[in-house]
């Protein structure tokens, strides 16, 4: 199988994730898009690992670290989202406008 295929798949998923972060307004969905981007990275790492016939399996180890760290990150991130939600009753980023450039 050509290396191009998984790498293209990763690129496509990464682009979808990038677009999702920019387009979605709900903080939780933005976070999900970031997760999609990380998954795309993982496909790349595994594909290169296989392609390089890396006897060290460095790509796979890296993927393992990415998965672990992403899980920790999501845990904290969702806690922050919930904290904001408890005080504002919304998780929409469009309503987070208290910090912005002054109109004046």
């Amino acid at each position: 199988m050509p290396l191009l295929m998984p790498v293209l798949l990763a690129g496509l998923l990464f682009c979808i994730g990038v677009y999702g972060v920019l387009a979605r307004r709900n903080a939780i969905l933005v976070l999900m898009s970031v997760e999609l981007m990380l998954n795309a990275v993982n496909i790349n790492l595994v594909a290169f690992d296989v392609w390089l016939r890396d006897e060290l399996l460095a790509g796979q180890v890296f993927t393992l670290f990415v998965i672990t760290i992403a899980a920790a990150e999501v845990g904290l991130g969702l806690a922050i989202v919930l904290l904001v939600f408890r005080n504002r009753a919304t998780s929409s980023l469009d309503e987070m406008t208290e910090l912005r450039e002054d109109a004046a």
């Binding site: 199988m1 050509p2 290396l3 191009l4 295929m5 998984p6 798949l9 690129g11 998923l13 682009c15 979808i16 677009y19 999702g20 920019l22 387009a23 307004r25 709900n26 939780i28 969905l29 976070l31 999900m32 898009s33 997760e35 999609l36 998954n39 993982n42 496909i43 595994v46 594909a47 690992d49 296989v50 392609w51 390089l52 016939r53 890396d54 006897e55 060290l56 399996l57 460095a58 796979q60 180890v61 393992l64 670290f65 998965i67 672990t68 760290i69 992403a70 899980a71 920790a72 990150e73 999501v74 845990g75 904290l76 969702l78 806690a79 919930l82 904290l83 939600f85 998780s91 929409s92």
Partner: protein, 267 residues
């Protein structure tokens, strides 16, 4: 574990098998990701993302990375996505998201960007081919053992530092969500003592409207001597001035009670 690895390796040794798996799962992953992007309901998005992650897990299995495939299922689909779903339920399942473009021409720019990036990759990688041969050698001691050798030797420091990250995440979630008790807990006994010591009406309050025209909440009940029982109406309604007055109440009830009886007589 190593036997599983060899079985899986044998199953996917042929390039064609792997290609078929890829061509089935790759488009599925992309479609699910696009669905995640497009669906209005947050829960649908979460489930579609879980589908993407599952197909990636199978892809890893097919690419001779069995441990990663399992971790992907357990950690990503099992833990992370379920956490997402839990939070979505807490925040409100119906939290819909508008898909209106916030920046004009966003989608066109996004498609152009993606195509450009894809073209770059095509140009970069040309016709490099993936085979599993070398990996069989790397996996010869078993995939898990191979990974363990690397994690606990070469990357042992990064591995240990990751634990700092996990501690941070745990403390963080606790700081943000845990409420420590700073007052003694109020027990059932304390509550009932409080209730009788307070000198208030200890029994349940009378329900509204029992002897009046309505059993609606805004009508006070009438005591046997015909006076209204103020305690039977919610204090909120009384404060708002929404309680029906008793004289008006008494007279209308009398007339209306009489009226249907007359109709009954006529028929």
């Amino acid at each position: 574990m190593s036997s599983t690895a060899t079985v899986l390796a044998a199953a996917t040794d042929t390039g064609t098998g792997e290609a078929v798996t890829f061509w089935v799962l790759g488009p599925l992953a992309v479609l699910a990701a696009l669905g995640m992007l497009a669906s209005k309901k947050a829960v649908h998005s979460a489930l579609l993302l879980a589908l993407t992650m599952l197909s990636l897990a199978v892809l890893y299995l097919a690419q001779d990375a069995p441990f990663l495939g399992v971790v992907q299922v357990v950690v990503y689909t099992g833990a992370v996505m379920m956490l997402f779903l839990f939070v979505l339920m807490l925040v409100g399942v119906d939290s819909a998201d508008s898909l209106v473009e916030t920046l004009r021409g966003q989608r066109v720019a996004a498609v152009l960007g993606a195509v450009g990036f894809g073209a770059l990759l095509v140009f970069a990688l040309g016709d490099a081919v993936v085979t599993n041969e070398g990996l069989d050698q790397a996996n010869s001691e078993g995939n898990v053992e191979g990974l363990a050798n690397l994690i606990f030797a070469r990357y042992v420091f990064a591995f240990e530092v990751t634990s700092a990250l996990l501690i941070t995440a745990a403390i963080g979630a606790m700081v943000l969500a845990h409420r420590e008790r700073h007052l003694p807990k109020i027990t059932q006994r304390d509550l009932s003592v409080q209730r009788f010591r307070g000198g208030q009406y200890p029994a349940p309050l009378p329900s509204p409207g029992v002897y009046a025209r309505h059993n609606a909440v805004d009508t006070p009940a009438l005591l046997p001597d015909g006076t209204p029982a103020d305690a039977s109406v919610s204090r909120v309604l009384a404060a708002r001035g929404d309680v029906r007055s008793i004289p008006e109440q008494a007279s209308t009830t009398a007339i209306e009670r009489a009226a249907p009886r007359r109709e009954d007589d006529g028929s």
